[in-house]
């Protein structure tokens, strides 16, 4: 067991440092515009990593379950997270081959696949850019 702070705390400490001490120093300085922009990107990237640490185990399991339903098989899900990620990557390579071979061309299969892929993209965005998802939801609500 490691002492605290854990990886999440460490990541948080770094982006807080960038937000509080570095970004304000660069803001508004024309000569530092690029560095300021890169610093904002760096802060954002650390927040992505922070969310990934929290959400990854849940997302990997959910994707495994969806693939089982999509492919109508009941493959046993590995307990170990790294093993799960590795096997998921392999299943996705196979899924790519199946898509290329036309196994999801029928409207029913295509719809089921599309639903699965949309859910996977949604999970990716919960980590990478939750605000993007909020924007889409707001837009959809306004259309109705």
């Amino acid at each position: 067991m490691y002492d605290l702070p854990d990886a999440s705390h460490l990541i948080e400490a770094v982006y807080q440092h960038l937000e509080m001490n570095i970004a304000p120093m660069l803001k508004g300085d024309a000569a530092q515009r690029k560095l300021y922009f890169q610093t904002l990107v760096a802060i954002n990237v650390l927040k992505v990593a922070e969310r990934e640490l929290v959400l990854r185990p849940r997302h990997l399991k959910a994707e495994w379950g969806r693939l089982n339903r999509l492919q109508e098989i009941d493959l046993h899900m590995p307990e170990n997270s790294e093993e799960l990620a590795d096997l998921l990557a392999r299943r996705n390579i196979q899924l790519c081959t199946d898509i290329r071979d036309g196994q999801y061309d029928s409207p029913e299969n295509a719809s089921a696949l599309l639903a699965h892929l949309t859910m996977t993209a949604q999970e990716q965005l919960e980590v990478a850019n939750p605000r993007f998802l909020q924007g889409l939801a707001a837009e959809d609500a306004a259309k109705k």
Binding site: Q38, V45, R100, P107, T118, A121, Q122, L125, L136, E139
Partner: protein, 340 residues
């Protein structure tokens, strides 16, 4: 990379060689943006004239291997200029490494601002937003009318071996995925869907990056120049109508489909009026899906520049995880169009 002082002397010597008069450089400023090119703004004076120029010069790494050379971009700009498209007037070009190390060309500087997120939101850009949809339609119609053979633009990438423009686009995405060794089911599904749902097509000169960010916007005219021609090719003109609609080019104003400034329909109708041709909206949707697919893969390719250690950069690294935005948009558009 030479120091600006040395660069300034080299630039002066080059312009002198072109105009046959002594030249003094008054101002030399490196411009931001354009990941694949080194861009400079130059103010110079010669006995007879004042010069305000922009130089585009190659960098070491090229963002997309298929983009045009500076020499080709210069010829294309000449064709557009002669055809009445609003572009910076092209001036001189050289590939001689003795001049400025890398191939480059120079063109007139055009006043205006180009930053997308400012154009879609800033109150002072409101008059520009009013006129832009019409002007974009007018300019892209002019571009599509350029006779590329007559202008000697046969070097432009064009569909090969009886491929359709969509085949060609899908093939380049496939090559890129193979190079990057990426197996992404959403992208694979997009490729499959786009392959099976290809609309009828025509061929024309295609700008290839016709979107906010590549327009010099100013008032009162609104659209002072269409810039960044390095991705021009022969393809389906609808590609250029769809690209400014791709969500990422709405700069946060997602509900306004055309470039984050307006609905798409007035833009398409103006284009139809200029070309005298009816446009199939579903085919424009198709190219918007294609645009998202390609942008999704380009993001992954940019991330690879970091991952491979070639260009370590937090910015490139971050783009890898932005790909999911384009994937999501592509899936939503396919859903709206119909999976079958």
């Amino acid at each position: 990379m030479p120091e600006p002082k040395q660069l300034s002397e080299q630039i002066a010597a080059f312009i002198e060689s072109q105009i046959g008069q002594a030249v003094t450089i008054l101002e030399l400023e490196q411009l931001a943006g354009g990941g694949s090119l080194d861009t400079w703004r130059i103010r110079a004076t010669s006995p007879d004239e004042e010069w305000h120029l922009v130089m585009r010069r190659d960098l070491e790494t090229v963002m997309v291997a298929e983009s045009l050379s500076r020499e080709q971009e210069f010829k294309l700009l000449q064709a557009a200029y002669e055809s009445g498209v609003r572009v910076p007037r092209p001036r001189w070009q050289s590939n001689d490494p003795a001049v400025l190390d890398k191939p480059f060309f120079m063109m007139d500087y055009v006043e205006g601002f180009s930053i997308g997120r400012i154009i879609v939101k800033a109150p002072e850009a409101e008059p520009a937003r009013q006129v832009l949809p019409e002007l974009m339609a007018e300019q892209i119609a002019l571009i599509h009318a350029i006779d590329w053979q007559k202008h000697g633009l046969d070097f432009l990438p064009a569909p090969q071996h009886g491929n359709t423009p969509a085949d060609e686009a899908l093939l380049s995405v496939r090559k890129e995925l193979y190079r990057l060794d990426i197996h992404n089911p959403a992208i694979e599904f997009g490729l499959r869907w786009l392959d099976k749902n290809q609309p009828p097509y025509q061929l024309s000169l295609v700008h290839g990056d016709f979107r906010l960010g590549n327009f010099q916007i100013g008032l009162p005219y609104g659209l002072n120049a269409v810039i960044d021609w390095e991705f021009a090719h022969i393809g389906d003109p609808l590609e250029d109508l769809a690209w400014p609609c791709v969500r990422d080019w709405r700069f946060g104003m997602g509900h306004l489909r055309l470039a984050g400034i307006a609905d798409r329909e007035p833009f398409l109708q103006t284009y139809e009026r200029h070309t005298g041709q009816a446009i199939d909206r579903t085919a424009v949707d198709y190219w918007e899906i294609m645009g998202n697919l390609r942008w999704a893969v380009t993001c992954l390719a940019q991330a690879d520049r970091h991952l491979s250690g070639r260009d370590p950069s937090v910015e490139f690294a971050s783009l890898g995880r932005r790909s999911a935005e384009m994937q999501m948009e592509m899936l939503r558009l396919i859903q709206a169009t119909g999976v079958g």
